[in-house]
Subunit: 526 residues, 2 copies
């Protein structure tokens, strides 16, 4: 552990500003002193990335796969050192660290498989028709190519899977884009270890210097400088609405605006239909008490909003949920500042008019542990007071009691964009709520039947993203292999000589990939 930045393959610490990470379980600072990247180091990382891009963008899918798999190997080789560092900087338990490491490694390998195979490039070929009337048709061939250097902002709540070598980085490298990570200050040590694994892998597999850099920072300046740098071509971010929007605004004001994919806040509405409430409110309450407190409520898919129609059953559900959630042992939050934010946001919501606290863990807790809370409010108040729509990041949820189905649907239709929406229904009950379901679909990226929103399967059919402010561009997902599409653009070759075309588009199809030729998908030669 050096506390230094990786400017390409070089460790470097020329800046003046230093900081330490914090162990929230022990409530003490960790010992390593990290040096924030200086303006010169930032510029150097970007220059290297831009140069590396000129080589990296032409490196074959198989070699990129080798790089990604070697990153995964090197992360695993860090073994206990990584797990210990992770736990010491997050307050999360070893099981979570190992699970998240598995997910991170799995993501890297799935992108490796994708680019080794190669059909993802959407190679599309329309052949010439020299005798077409009134004008000849030319030979046109298209495939996806990388955008250029990508800046990735690590997430506080996923130190591995959505940080240094997480989903954004893996997707960008797979696409052929060099990556500059703005390391998250809360887990800079975990970041440095993972960065060292990436740098080792880049060296072992012969990747150009600058294909990856890792910059330390404790404030917002490093990130700002990166986003406005003209050589940076895209940004990936996971975090708060305020942070993501600030970067989006900065990128939009550039002389050359660039795409920003920010995965931001969500309160993940859950609608419990009347029959389901009637038949299994106890069971649902228990399931949701667990979902709300999972990972100390620090998931972007945490169910922060539960909607139902006023009834005795809904009242019973609220009571059950409150009873169940109080039984759960409080757990540690990621950082004292996260806990401070949790308490402040909770206070803000709770202090609004007509908000009833139905559960509040009041016993003393350890430093940095979160006290879980459930509140209840009427539909009318929720509709009229947008402060109640605020995400309270932590083990918190709000139950909204609607007057009737109309009010429930109106609330859903007027929700801000969300990552997920959930319908809890008895077998066929949902058949009677098609318009409600349609309204919910319009506000979310993923809709769940009789489940919980926490737990995001990493697979091709997963959409993690949604209408603003769930994400800044709902046309892309942040999870799954299709997230690679954020960092590429289509490119056409017209009448280009076969031998000079990239292999993906050559007549002989030397990579044996599936392509669309004359409108038909095939892996045949031409």
């Amino acid at each position: 552990m050096t506390g230094k930045n990786y400017i390409g393959n070089q460790l470097s610490a020329n800046g003046n500003k230093t900081f330490q990470t914090f162990n929230p379980e022990l409530n003490t600072e960790n010992s390593t002193v990290f040096t924030e990247a200086s303006s010169e180091e930032i510029q150097e990382a970007v220059t290297l990335a831009s140069k590396a891009f000129q080589e990296f963008r032409f490196i074959s899918g198989k070699r990129k796969a080798d790089f990604l798999n070697t990153i995964a190997d090197e992360i695993l080789a860090l073994d206990d050192e990584l797990v210990k560092m992770y736990c010491s900087e997050t307050g999360l338990l070893e099981g979570r660290a190992k699970g998240e490491r598995g997910r991170t490694v799995g993501q890297l390998r799935s992108f490796a498989n994708l680019v080794a195979e190669g059909s993802w490039l959407e190679a599309t070929i329309d052949l010439a028709q020299p005798n077409r009337e009134p004008i000849p048709k030319l030979d046109i061939r298209k495939m996806l190519i990388p955008l250029g250097p990508v800046v990735v902002f690590g997430a506080s709540n996923f130190p591995l899977a959505y940080s240094t070598a997480g989903g954004d980085t893996a997707a960008a490298l797979a696409a052929g884009c060099p990556v500059i990570v703005k390391s998250h200050p809360m887990h800079a040590g975990t970041g440095e270890l993972v960065a060292s694994a990436i740098v080792k892998a880049a060296h072992k597999t012969g990747m150009p210097n600058g294909v990856f850099s890792n910059l330390n920072s404790s404030g917002i300046e490093v990130g700002q400088q990166l986003v406005v740098n003209p050589k940076v071509k895209a940004v990936g971010f996971t975090g708060s609405i305020k942070g993501g929007r600030a970067l989006l605004d900065l990128a939009a004001k550039r002389e050359e605006p660039i795409p920003v994919f920010a995965e931001m806040g969500s309160i993940n509405p859950v609608v419990i239909l009347p029959k389901a409430l009637e038949n299994r409110h106890q069971e649902i309450a228990k399931t949701y008490a667990n979902s709300i407190t999972l990972g100390t409520g620090q998931f972007c898919t945490n169910p922060g909003l539960i909607l139902g129609i006023k009834s005795e059953n809904l009242t019973s559900f609220i009571n059950n949920l409150s009873d169940e959630i109080i039984k759960i042992n409080p757990s540690c939050m990621l950082h004292p500042n996260i806990k401070k934010g949790y308490n402040a946001n909770k206070e803000k919501v709770v202090s609004q008019e007509n908000v009833t606290i139905t559960a509040n863990y009041e016993a003393e807790v350890e430093n940095n542990y979160a006290q879980q809370t459930v509140v209840s409010v009427n539909g009318k108040d929720f509709l009229e007071n947008s402060t109640l729509h605020l995400e309270v990041f932590g083990p918190f949820s709000m139950v909204v009691q609607c007057e009737n189905e109309n009010e429930l649907e109106q609330i859903i239709a007027n929700l801000e964009g969300q990552l997920t929406g959930t319908i809890i229904s008895d077998e066929n009950e949902v058949n009677n709520y098609t318009s409600l379901v349609a309204a919910l679909q319009n506000r979310v990226g993923r809709i769940i039947f009789n489940g919980v929103p926490t737990g995001v399967e990493v697979c091709e059919s997963m959409v993690h993203g949604g209408p603003y402010p769930a994400s800044t561009d709902s046309r892309f997902t942040a999870v799954g292999i299709n997230s690679i599409k954020r960092w590429v653009r289509p490119f056409s070759y017209q009448d280009w000589p076969n031998s000079l075309l990239p292999k993906e588009l050559q007549n002989e199809n030397p990579l044996d990939i599936f392509r669309t030729v004359e409108g038909k998908r095939t892996n045949q030669k031409i």
Copy 2:
């Protein structure tokens, strides 16, 4: 011809501001008086579109195809009336009108085929694995769904193919998004006729009222009001960098930022390699004299920049090009304001230091006819003076004489983003210029070998778009069936009951489309 707006299916003219279109050939105003849409009419169109979306987004691909094909039929049924109106508002000839009508109808039918077939929706299915360890895998299914109401800004230079029922509109309707067209003031009559065809088709095929509106405007206010309206979810624009950027900035400042796809300016660099210059400079000069003046130079793919290495052959080429271009008969521009802009931009470029005029059509021309011009400048001057990079919309091109290959490559690497780049090469000459080609590829959306950039084939492999400012989001194309991707987002269903899934995702695959099931592409049932 009423001069009114279509607010959904209703003709309406409540505004106070009126304007007329102009016949540039006759140099007189056309007779119809158009009424600009009022704020209330704009709001009404958006409200109707938003309501229509709730129905339209669930309409089957086959019914949308019927709608699109009927629009094509109704456009053809307008027959001579449309052709005459088109010519009277643009100064373009009947042949061009008919050609562009053919392209417009072809685009509508190709989107109809796409959505009738249905596999474009990228249906992706991962099945549940209830026994997976450590946690069960859930059933997740994904497909593309429409974003919501789309505002389309018609292009001055494509009154049919990139205006009222043009590429953006056809793609958005095919996607399931209602469309509000901000009609181009220079061809409002053509716009009204085409709008009447769309409204008729909507009526005939039972589409919801509000699926389409057509708003007249002579200034920028109608467009601004549309882009900031919270119910509008995306914007398509074809036009100037200034106009596109203004809309992009407006959209970025909204509480909910929305995607803007603007296809803007381009000077379409053409590199002539030395051997090609040596062997066929005369032929190339002739070809390019035609390409530069095609359609009075009013194409976004017009070759405005020709790059070569200083030599006697390059000098001969410049002389040949200048001789050839002067022989061509000047032709009419779209509007007096377009001609004014052409002359002003030309003047701006020509007045820069060290710019030599090598061809200038100086004989008297008809009102609104453009005088073609070729200028020449040294590489160093071009590199140092960005005013020389300005697009001069019209029959104009600049030949840049570079000192050597290095300077040529440096110029290319520092170009603004472009729609196209062209390499003119002898058979194998290009093999020696891989790094130059790589630099060019990095600045464009389409690269052409031994051809001209004018002429954009409408096919799946075409990319029309490119790095900013060629377009605002290089990750999408404005031409070809994949342009539909601008208006859709992926959406996941988790554990959703089979009978309630959209047909595209049901086990039985009732639409018989190709889907990705468990990572394999298939049209089989599950």
